[in-house]
């Protein structure tokens, strides 16, 4: 039973590292947002795997991951809006004011 958990922990570490690598190396906003989300998914996979250690999965960890999920979506939304605003500043923006 524990070796499937080990495998998922390994996958979680890989996801976290891939996200870290993407976030550091990528320059485009969208790629960095995707990388952040991959990293988040990695941490959540680790958390859920830890929750699945007992036959009855640990509800506290599930609640933590749910909270983390909502936080990550709001951070992503803000990052994307900032990204689009940053991009529109490069092109001559037809100022409406």
């Amino acid at each position: 039973m524990t070796d499937t958990l080990l495998f998922y922990l390994l996958v979680a570490s890989f996801l976290w590292a891939a996200g870290l690598h993407g976030l550091i190396v990528a320059r485009h906003v969208l790629r960095r947002v995707i990388a952040v989300n991959i990293m988040t998914a990695g941490v959540f996979l680790a958390l859920v795997t830890l929750a699945a250690r007992a036959p009855e999965p640990d509800p506290v960890l599930h609640a933590l991951v749910l909270t983390g999920l909502v936080i990550s979506v709001s951070a992503t939304a803000l990052a994307l809006h900032l990204g689009t605003a940053a991009f529109s500043t490069e092109k001559p923006e037809p100022t409406t004011r």
Binding site: W16, G19, L20, L23, V29, R32, V36, M39, T40, V43, A46, L47, L50, V60, L61, L64, T67, G68, I71, S74, A75, L78, A79, L82, G83, A85, A86, T89, E93
Partner: protein, 469 residues
């Protein structure tokens, strides 16, 4: 404990109210921060009389519920946050152009209050994330040229939060507990705890802009609106530092504290010197003030590092004094810099030529705040530096650290007086710019407070020594 939570919920409700009625933001926030300050002071008095307090939210058993706990230091930080919020909103209500600021400022205040009170590792993750999002939104208020630094700030703080969250996951995996008070009795120095502490420390260092991971701070703080950069430098940067201090002084197992202490002390020294040097070199005024934040945080890191290595009470007291003195001094410096930048309409430092005639009070505020950053007696900065120096001299092998503090004093003197000397230049007489005398005096107020700390210095230091463990 109720007073502390009242001090938290007042800005929260004000923020929500301001979202519904966006007009008259300034007066509302001034009123709310005054009430919050009163509540915080009441909680401070209460906690000093009747000792530490804790409340299990929702009445659930100990391990399960989130426990908010109140110690004199937390109550002091609560009052400090409310005070800085009051000072900045007094200044900003006179020349604020963007109504979105007020709601975010109140939410920022509420988040910081939640951070000071919380004692739960995951709850800290949520408050840190909320803090970053509020700060990024406020930096982005300044319009076009502040969006790229805000974006960079957001990505780096997301990276930091994920490092921190992974650390929390490992700690929970290893001990099954999230409350740091209980953890302080359970931690053992094995590899996973070491890795968790490393990850959490790296995350908090990025969020707190401590030296090697501070690159997001100068562009973000210098391009943000004046009041925002003041709030960010004085308060937001201190949140992660508070958590870092609690983690290392209370929760870290004995084996790790020595290594951690050395690491932090060395980073502190580098922060002082490199931050000071960058601050001395940069041509932009607000960027110079931002770099000086990075430098002054070096003192806090140095104090924390020494505290971990020698377990001396004075260094912890020096740490909290640095936090308070730097907060007040930096608020005044940023407000003065912003005021002068508005008057001269130019971001560069050279625009301040002859500022001591055209904007004397703002320049005086800048110089007085700079005096406290350098640590000239009898300012708050001097008190903190004095307490930091004492243990350094207990035995003479520690002279390199004393030499580093000496060097950092000279570097900070260099970058403060570079501006002050420019101000006395009477070369050309520009047209008399429009001066707002009242807001200049408001910018001076925090600086006078930090020098006023001398009047109450001995009782403050004795109380802090008794209280900080």
């Amino acid at each position: 404990m109720n007073f502390a939570l009242v001090s938290l919920s007042i800005p929260l409700f004000t923020g929500l109210l301001l979202l519904m009625i966006p007009r008259y933001g300034g007066p509302w926030v001034v009123l709310s921060s005054t009430l919050s300050l009163a509540a915080a002071v009441a909680s401070l008095v209460e906690v000093v009389d009747s000792g530490n307090q804790a409340v299990l939210l929702g009445g659930w058993p100990e391990l399960l519920a989130i426990r908010l706990h109140l110690e004199p230091i937390n109550a002091l930080l609560l009052a400090f946050t409310a005070l800085i919020q009051l000072l900045v909103s007094l200044y900003w209500s006179r020349n604020c152009r963007n109504d979105g600021f007020w709601a975010l400022a109140s939410l920022l205040h509420a988040t910081l209050a939640a951070l000071w009170l919380s004692g739960d590792l995951f709850n800290w993750y949520v408050t840190l994330e909320l803090l970053s999002l509020v700060s990024v939104s406020m930096v982005a208020l300044a319009g076009k040229d502040s969006i790229k630094p805000a974006l960079n700030y957001l990505f780096l703080s997301l990276l930091a939060s994920l490092c921190y969250l992974l650390g929390v996951a490992i700690i929970y995996g290893r001990y099954g507990v999230l409350d740091f008070q209980i953890l302080s009795r359970m931690t053992v120095g094995d590899t996973s705890t070491a890795m968790a502490m490393l990850l959490m420390t790296l995350g908090l260092m990025v969020k707190g802009a401590l030296w090697p991971l501070h690159l997001w701070l100068p562009p973000a703080h210098s391009r943000a609106p004046t009041a925002v950069s003041a709030l960010l430098s004085a308060l937001v940067v201190k949140g992660p530092l508070f958590i870092l201090t609690l983690l290392w002084t209370r929760m870290a197992p004995m084996e790790l504290t020595d290594k951690g202490g050395e690491f932090l002390a060395v980073m502190g020294v580098f922060a002082l010197l490199v931050g000071g040097w960058c601050s001395f070199r940069t041509p932009l005024l607000k960027e110079m003030v931002a770099y000086s934040t990075v430098a002054q945080l070096g003192y806090v890191m140095l104090a924390l590092g020494l505290m971990l290595q020698w377990q001396l009470r004075e260094t912890l007291v020096a740490l909290w004094l640095f936090v308070l003195a730097h907060g007040l001094a930096k608020t005044s410096m940023f407000l003065a810099a912003g005021e002068m930048q508005r008057i001269f309409g130019n971001k560069r430092v050279t625009a301040l030529r002859g500022a001591s005639q055209t904007a004397p009070v703002a320049m005086f505020a800048f110089a007085v705040a700079g005096g406290s950053l350098i640590g000239l007696p009898p300012s708050g900065g001097f008190l903190a530096k004095w307490l930091l120096l004492e243990p350094l001299f207990y035995d003479l092998q520690r002279w390199p650290l004393a030499f580093a503090v000496l060097l950092s004093t000279l570097v900070s003197a260099a970058y403060v007086f570079r501006i002050v000397t420019l101000a006395f230049d009477r070369a050309e007489r520009g047209q008399a710019p429009s001066r707002d005398r009242v807001s200049e005096w408001l910018a001076l107020l925090p600086a006078l407070l930090v020098w006023g700390m001398a009047l109450v210095s001995e009782p403050l230091i004795l109380w802090l020594t008794r209280v900080a463990q």
